[in-house]
Amino acid sequence: MQQLADYLLAEGFLSGLPKSVGYVLVVAFFAFVLLNFIMLVAGVTSWLERRVWARIQSRVGPNRVGPQGVIQWLADGIKSVLKEDIVPEAADKPLFKGAPYLAMIGFFGAWACVPFGDGLIVADLNVGVLYITAVTGLVVVGILMAGWSSNNKWALLGGIRSAAQIVSYEIPAAIAINTVILLTGTLSMQGIIKAQGWAPWNWFLFDNPFTFVAFFIFFVALLAEGNRTPFDLPEAESELVAGAFTEYSGLRSLLFFLVEWGNLYIIGALCTTLFLGGWQVPAFTDNAFVQGVLQMITFFLKSYFLVFVAMWIRATLPRVRVDQLMSLCWKYLVPIAFVNLLGAMLWVVAFPHGNIVMRLAMFGFGVVVTIYFFSRVASHLRRARPEMTWNPIS
């Protein structure tokens, strides 16, 4: 984006303005574009989540507002905005009002480093991954503030659980990231993607068994960071109504939920960048614009597939209890992640440029697991045969 700003200034579009003002204008414009994109994605994600959940639960989700219900999120958003703004009387007012914005800042700041395509990134920091991990930590502060300032013991419990959870699960996530960084040598998001190829066996996911395991550790840790089931104890509906966000209504609660759904996309984007090859597509044409569009579509589809998997997991699995969550992190994920890192280190020493045999073998393993999965799905369908009718749109 800096190149674009320089280009615009040089070409004279913003001539007559001092450089800093020109930069600010470009930054504001991109922020505005990104914000709209994020709101759209978060809203459509909420609709998709409800439809996916509904199909899994043998029912039909929202399908009335707009074709197949795609603008349901808009209706919900407008309703939330029009609601009465209730601030509890004994609540700590500045903290209560400021908490959603802090969470939004933490979440929004991460988008500065999300690579949509080759050159399509707001700021290609050379510590991109580290930056994202750090900035999303602000969301914890927002949730804690929300829990504390609500003057509600249940909200406080929810906020504290969430803080413990997010802080603990940063560690396996960071170790899993390191496993990948060993292969690339750079923390920059574009650099990591460029170190992979477009073919599945050139992705870091199938590079060696250690990155394969690291992918699952990373995905689980990110699910915990995003407060998604099976780790959604802070918002456990059956116990705490809405956990840290119990006292929020109207626009403020909408902001929190937007943060949650948008975070899903960040999870998908991070996993895609690190493990699934990012926006890499084979070089079809020389036209940079068409390539750029193809790359954007590829990246979007890959990260959205992971968002879909996260929704699917949420509908399937029950919640993990707080002490089990902590023991899962510290007794299982952290040791396994460390051992994994050691293994990856040894692998990189042995094969500095990777090993095509291992890559193809891992890819074959992945294909076998997928085929086995579909065979299990088919066997379940056979057993419950009387009701099977394919009807995706109902």
Binding site: S58, T229, S238, E239, P318, R319, V320
Partner: protein, 386 residues
């Protein structure tokens, strides 16, 4: 509530001289989890509970008193509301109590219809219970699958008696409606569809490692404790006590059917933990399917109701009748003074005793476990408060 019973916010000194307080939380009558309107005052030390004191009475509707006003026939719809999740067995309890008072014999086909209705009711109730347990633990899908099956059962019972929740199917002396034509075929078709789905349900959630970890070794109720605290039904059987009113104090035509009484075995944890109680319910569903198949195959001919006077005046006396409701041994105590209105009706329900044991069980559990305990003890508020 007796304020002296709850010492609010006990302050304690930890070993390092820091002060810590116990929180007093209110898991209030309006809550997305608890099964009906129940209230718990939870005294917790952070996440670990010290005591959870139940507060009941939010759903009290004076049903037992109403019986003294509406008379014997008129009370039948009210019995549905005593436990609306499985209403057929409540109907049967009241009908049996009145028949015992007046010495009325129910025709054989009437008994068969009653058994079919009660076992369908048991299936529906257990489906709701396991579904709600799953939802309280966090798995939302099994709940909707269970409700889907319960809707099929509701459809079947709707064509039998015209209603889906408050059936009012039985009368003193038998049943109000005979089996409609084609009922047996449709019911068997439902059973054929339903039995594989129990296996699928088990694979989806019952054997899920996270679910097992949430329920195993939580709130262990030993044999002695279960008997001492008067637990009944799947709660008692989950602790290893093989007691079922249908086998040990049989009524109706249950002796003619072959079925097993599933007992908790401590398969994934300790004997008598929440997982055992949950699995007993799953297994009881399979046994109910067996009973239903036998009953549907062997329905005799004849009337379904005996001749009973419009103005029902049983001789003076008292009677205590027990039925195996979904939540356990439901006792119906009726005192008659010879007039058309009962002198006193009392209903002893399984959920009431289960509420009492929660305070004992909750010591040392986590708040997340409290919800699991309430769910696996299958407490429904209408039974507790009547």
């Amino acid at each position: 509530m007796n304020a002296d019973a709850i010492d609010l916010d006990v302050r304690r000194e930890t070993s390092r001289g820091l002060e810590t307080e116990e929180m007093t939380l209110n898991m209030g009558p309006q809550h997305p989890s608890t099964h009906g309107v129940l209230r718990f005052v939870v005294k917790a030390d952070g996440e670990v509970m010290r005591r959870a004191i139940p507060d009941i009475g939010y759903l009290h509707r004076s049903i037992e008193k109403i019986a003294e006003k509406v008379g014997y026939h008129g009370f039948m719809p009210y019995t549905d509301r005593v436990d609306y999740v499985s209403a057929m067995q409540c109907n049967q309890g009241w009908a049996m109590a009145c028949e015992k008072l007046a010495g009325i014999e129910v025709p054989r086909k009437g008994e068969y219809c009653r058994v079919i209705a009660c076992e369908f009711g048991r299936l529906a109730s257990h489906l709701l219970s396991v579904g709600a347990t799953g939802m309280d633990i966090g798995a939302v899908t099994p709940f909707t699958h269970a409700i889907r099956e319960r809707e099929y059962i509701n459809d079947i019972l709707e064509e039998l008696c015209g209603a889906r929740l408050t059936f009012n199917y039985m009368r003193i002396g038998g049943c109000a409606w005979d089996l409609p034509p084609g009922f047996v075929g449709r019911a068997v078709k439902f059973l054929d569809r339903f039995e594989p789905l129990i296996d699928e349900y088990n694979e989806l959630i019952s054997f899920n490692k996270i679910y097992v970890e949430r329920l195993a070794n939580v709130a262990v109720v030993s044999r002695e404790m279960a008997i001492a605290w008067n637990l009944v039904g799947p709660n008692l059987r989950g602790s290893g006590v093989k007691y079922d009113v249908r086998k040990d104090a049989p009524y109706s035509v249950y002796p003619e059917f072959e079925f097993d009484v599933p007992v908790g075995t401590g398969e994934r944890g300790t004997l008598g933990d929440s997982y055992d109680r949950y699995m007993v319910r799953m297994r009881e569903m399979e046994e109910s399917c067996k009973i239903l198949r036998q009953a549907l195959a062997g329905v005799p001919e004849g009337p379904v109701v005996a001749k009973v006077a419009r103005m029902f005046k049983p001789p003076a006396g008292e009677v205590y009748v027990r039925v195996e409701a979904s939540r356990g041994d439901m006792g119906w105590f009726v005192v008659s003074d010879g007039s058309a209105f009962p002198y006193r009706v009392h209903i002893r329900t399984g959920s009431f005793a289960a509420m009492a044991i929660i305070e004992e069980l909750s010591k040392g559990l986590m708040i997340a476990d409290l919800v699991a305990v309430i769910a696996t003890l299958d407490i429904v508020a209408p039974e507790v408060d009547r």
